[in-house]
């Protein structure tokens, strides 16, 4: 059975295609202004890449904040269930998932059968999310793709105490003026993100093995900072950013 999952997030739209439990391919594109169009085009672009036709896809599940815009999906499921399903598909031993996307971060506790036991979401502000890292990379004139690696160069991370992204930017600027090193400030930024997420993680409870998903999982600095704060090792799959779409495709096969 061939199924597809489409995850429309605040910054990126993802698509994944599964055939009898095997990942055929996945794709990431910017969501932009029109969620419906973004969902349609990331899906169609993936099909084209895989040289497949729409007719070969039996069922589609959509997820993410834009899930209800994907009118051609058979069902819309929240990204909480999809991330849980996706991570479990990648590693059925997984018991905790930390998903950090563009505008929110979530922590999930997973049952041995792959169902979600509990979850917490930080959706009140951007401080523990991809958006924060974007703003900070710009403030530090760093490339977002290198940002994580740069943070690992410091052994004395700066202290950034602001819990608000916008105010933290001002704090960073004053740290630069004080002469703190670029690597130390960048490391401090990563610790700040990790501390926001880990306090939420502790509330839900963290049980190993732990997997990190979402776009921010590609940032090695955040992964290491979280490992340090939580005292656990964190698995990151190559499919981390498309994990939601992957989970959606797995669920589609069960419809």
């Amino acid at each position: 059975m061939i199924t597809a999952g489409i995850d429309i997030g605040s910054i990126t739209a993802k698509a994944a295609i599964l055939s009898d439990g095997k990942v055929l391919g996945s794709k990431v594109a910017f969501t932009g202004y029109n969620a419906r169009e973004a969902g349609k085009s990331v899906y169609e672009d993936l099909l084209r890449e895989l040289e497949m036709d729409k007719s070969s896809i039996e069922k589609i599940v959509s997820t993410g904040y834009g899930r209800n815009s994907v009118t051609f999906a058979d069902k819309a499921i929240t990204e909480i269930i999809c991330h849980g399903t996706g991570a479990y598909y990648l590693n059925p031993e997984i018991r905790s998932i930390i998903d950090v996307g563009g505008q929110d971060s979530k922590v999930l506790a997973i049952n041995p059968d792959g169902t979600v036991k509990d979850f917490a979401m930080n959706d009140k502000c951007a401080a523990g999310t991809g958006r924060f890292l974007e703003v900070m990379a710009r403030a530090m004139e760093a490339d977002l793709d290198d940002f994580g690696t740069l943070s690992l160069r410091s052994d004395r991370p700066s202290k950034i105490s602001s819990i608000c992204t916008v105010f933290a930017e001002s704090e960073v600027i004053s740290l630069i003026a004080k002469g703190e090193s670029r690597e130390d400030i960048i490391a401090g930024i990563h610790e700040s993100v990790a501390s926001r997420i880990s306090s939420m993680a502790r509330r839900v409870g963290v049980q190993e093995p732990v997997m990190m998903t979402g776009g921010v999982a590609r940032n090695i600095g955040v992964v290491r900072a979280l490992e340090k704060t939580l005292g656990v090792s964190i698995e990151v799959s190559e499919f981390a950013q498309v994990n939601g779409a992957l989970g959606a495709a797995v669920i589609a096969a069960r419809l």
Binding site: Y65, I77, T78, E79, I80, I81, D104, T115, V116, K117, D118, F119, M121, D123, K124, R203
Partner: protein, 411 residues
């Protein structure tokens, strides 16, 4: 199946019309009190209203008006106005809305009638103390404060004496303001009616134990008004008798509030007053019935302490041990009782920024419910009357994920 209101998240009730009539009449009486020579008292929602009824004083509830302001979606503007006056945005949105409303005659009925006196009982929170002091200065009227010490578990002898003494002071206060003697016989009558009203309200809420339930908590939020505002009157007793009969008839006819009740849920904390319909439709679309809630239960929870044959003595304990004046362990016990009584599959907790006593301790209660009963819960956040604090998309994701979890578990 008759009187369906499909897609509206519940079926319309005949009693709704009567409730609207009574509340309209009540507010008209209050607003025309000056002309009719009656006196008006503003009182907190947990305050002892029975002595006011016995003295033929019209009780008015700024908190009830706050709910109306929220439901009319007038909260954001009034709260912003209060912030312009210098009040913090973190302050209770009932308080902000009321303080601003007093200044601009705001809200759906163009402001509340001037009080002749204020009665403040802090068994619900400490904010009311300052709020009522502000209003006492604004209107230049006498204020009576009933200080109910917090009762973590036990109602000590000292607390008993202290509160009992204040009830006597309260009566003396009313006698001084009204310039007439307190009628203890009338009080005994009012006490009996208050207990009867509370019993009927409990019976109405208990009909939700049926599967399927004839009502949802959204119905309860609406029908709550009378037991809060006119507790101790015959009007309230007659109304709840009628409502109970209607609920019992629904049960007999097999009419359910949610056309396809698959999941039963418990709600915690005050309602999100400006999003009642949205929430009601959202849960109905998931075939979920919010069969009970901790908020409306609070107005019959003190029945266990009240003696209808000796109301004036027993009311002290009843008022002191209100749901928000006890320890978190005690609140947890009550929640677990309700989980069992109404046989619920999940727990929806409103983390209400406006109500610290209700919301502090919610994570502990959540954890206890998960541990002791193994049912999932979800926390949604807002200020109950200030719609600026509500994020629809985020709240929707949490509710949808919660319902998906329950259906994964239950099928």
């Amino acid at each position: 199946m008759t009187d369906t209101d499909a897609g509206k998240g519940g079926r319309k009730m005949q009693s709704d019309k009567r409730m609207k009539e009574i509340m309209t009449g009540y507010y008209i009486d209050a607003k025309t009190a000056e002309q009719t020579g009656k006196k008006v008292a503003w009182i907190t929602s947990g305050g002892p209203v029975e002595p006011l009824i016995a003295m033929d004083i019209i009780p008015v509830y700024p908190e009830n008006y706050g709910a109306m302001i929220g439901a009319s979606k007038m909260g954001a503007d009034l709260c912003a106005r209060a912030e312009e006056m210098g009040y913090s945005g973190d302050l209770c949105s009932y308080a902000r809305a009321d303080i601003a409303s007093s200044l601009v005659d705001g809200g759906p009925i163009g402001g509340l009638p001037r009080p002749d006196m204020l009665v403040c009982c802090n068994n619900i929170c400490g904010t009311v103390l300052k709020w009522y002091e502000i209003q006492a200065r604004h209107y230049d009227v006498p204020l009576f404060i009933l200080d109910t010490p917090i009762c973590h578990t036990e109602y000590s002898e000292e607390a008993k004496k202290y509160v009992r003494r204040q009830i006597l002071e309260y009566i003396a206060f009313l006698e001084a303001v009204m310039k007439k003697k307190f009628d203890y016989d009338q009080m005994a009558e009012v006490g009996k009616l208050s207990v009867e009203g509370q019993r009927l309200w409990q019976a109405v809420l208990d009909t939700a134990m049926n599967r399927p339930s004839p009502m949802t908590c959204f119905d309860a939020f609406f029908h709550l008004a009378l037991i809060v505002t006119l507790r101790g009157t015959k009007v309230a007793v007659d109304y709840y008798r009628m409502l109970l009969a209607e609920m019992e008839q629904r049960v007999a006819d097999g009419i359910s509030a949610i056309p396809n009740e698959k999941y039963r849920l418990l709600w915690d904390n005050l309602p999100i007053w400006y999003r009642m319909r949205w929430l009601s439709e959202k849960f109905a679309a998931h075939d979920a019935c919010l069969v009970a809630d901790t908020y409306t239960t609070a107005w019959c929870m003190s029945l266990r302490y009240m003696d209808e044959d000796n109301f004036i003595d027993s009311m002290a304990e009843g008022y002191t041990k209100s749901y928000l004046n006890i320890g978190v362990d005690e609140m947890t016990k009550i929640v677990l009782e309700m989980v069992d009584k109404y046989d619920v599959d999940g727990f929806v907790m409103h983390s209400n920024r406006s109500c610290k006593p209700y919301s502090l301790g919610q994570y502990d209660i959540q954890r206890a419910v998960q541990k002791e009963r193994g049912i999932p819960s979800v926390i949604i956040e807002s200020h109950m009357v200030d719609e600026r604090s509500f994020s629809e998309s985020q709240t929707e994701t949490r509710i949808d994920a919660f319902m998906e979890m329950i259906s994964q578990k239950k099928g």
